[in-house]
Amino acid sequence: MHIAFDPRLRVAGPLQALDARCKVLAFFALVACAASVPAPSWRAPVAFLGAATLLLLVSRIPLGAALRRLLFLVPVVLALAAVVPFAKAAGGEKVALWTGGPMVPRQGLLVLWNVSSKALVGLLCAIILAGTTGVPRLLEAFERLCVPRVLVLTMSFIHRYAITMQEELARMKRARDARGWRGRWIWQAGTLGSMAGTLFLRSYERGERVWQAMLARGYRGKLIGPSSAPLRLLDVMFVVWMLAAGLAIRFLVR
């Protein structure tokens, strides 16, 4: 289950108590600073990763849950690792990957580290933001921060229907496994194909009924959360602190 959808991960913590709008702005500032680090730098990405890890610890999000979500990045990094170090093969100093191992351009390795670490910082920040805020408050914050409504609505429906599809899939898997399906043979792959088709149709129909249930209770295209409390000095200071930390790492760490 996505970290933002899973209320079991909701724990009390200092970040959880902050205003959602300020958290969105603060994390956006940190990620923007991290993303703007020039390619040859390796110390600044380390500092940004350190800052993001510190925030994860402060957030009190269960570390196992956060690490499992970080695994999404593994295929991306592997794909980059297969291409990026060799993209700048022409010229430049070459280093051995290990003693007696293949020689790769140092510049290429730096670029790979730079790109991967930025992706990691971005994902960590997304996990912390989602895990400490929850989807309804996040959507409300986006709306108040004047994110285009069509985007906010799209995100809200992804939220609704992701859970719906997950439940439908769980039911179908139960029904499949109860009848002895073991997925061992190639000819059993057809079952997965028909499950995917059925999942789409069932989710579509369920989605229609959920939509009707929303309309029946007066939904008019706007998700209304509890009205936000006024901004406190602490909320504003969090944005300032995160922006200052991001800028300091960006420009002072060489």
């Binding site: 209320p7 719906t164 209770r217 008019r220």
Partner: protein
């Protein structure tokens, strides 16, 4: 004279595949009256409930408390008509039970204090007050059924349209649901094929078959009308 809670005249509706779901249906329900809508699967009961809330647009006329249902007054109609779906999983879609029960009142534009008051009242009424922070998908089926009812009770409707409120409930949960529904003062239209519940809960019954009303009257008399019950495939 007080306007009826529901007045439905000459309703006709066909689904896009040509299935005739409602065929010249007319019905009146007085304020506070409890009416059972009996019929087999596909008889048109659910479509009739959807049209009370403006969720389907049949030919004919639907009035709620004297106000005709139309695209201009849908927010007002949806405040006045609470619709509870047969499958509670369709009705419960928010991260927590509290958010689900607060969804309707928030859409009404009520202040947070009033929203909280109504949510607590509604959850207390269905005996789920201790579970408000629990995600709906962690509730038992019986709790989900009661939670679905709370999601509309918090909107304080004048009419409650319930689709199979006792389906798939174990005997005690079924009895508790019936007892709970008896305490409500708003008009109730209950689509069901639970004939015993109809007898216990509703003084009046309407029998539907193939989109038409085939019998209406005092519940005990209607249930004894073997010709109508047979036509509605309820015997």
């Amino acid at each position: 004279m007080t306007a009826p809670a529901i007045r439905v005249s000459a309703l006709t509706f066909r689904y896009p595949d040509g299935t005739r779901a409602l065929d010249d249906v007319s019905l009146e329900v007085a304020p506070g009256e409890r009416v059972a809508l009996l019929g087999a699967n596909g008889a048109g009961k659910s479509t009739l409930l959807l049209s009370l809330n403006g969720l389907c647009d049949p030919g004919g006329r639907v009035e709620i408390g004297g106000t005709p249902v139309g695209s201009r007054n849908l927010p007002e109609i949806r405040r006045r008509v609470g619709l509870v779906f047969q499958n509670p999983d369709d009705q419960l879609f928010c991260p927590t039970l509290f958010d689900d029960v607060a969804f309707g009142p928030r859409n009404l534009g009520l202040g947070e204090e009033e929203v909280q008051k109504r949510v607590h009242e509604a959850l207390h009424r269905v005996d789920l007050a201790t579970l408000e922070e629990k995600p709906s998908f962690h509730l038992s089926y019986g709790q989900k059924k009661r939670a679905a009812l709370a999601t509309v009770l918090s909107m304080q409707p004048e009419v409650l349209a319930l689709d199979e409120p006792t389906s798939a409930l174990h005997p005690r949960a079924r009895r508790e649901m019936i007892a709970l529904l008896r305490t409500l003062s708003c008009a109730l239209v209950v689509a069901t094929h639970d004939l015993e519940m109809a007898r216990e809960l509703c003084p009046r019954a309407v029998v539907m078959a193939r989109g038409r009303i085939v019998a209406t009257g005092e519940t005990s008399v209607v249930l004894a009308d073997t010709k109508a019950m047979d036509e509605a495939e309820l015997l």
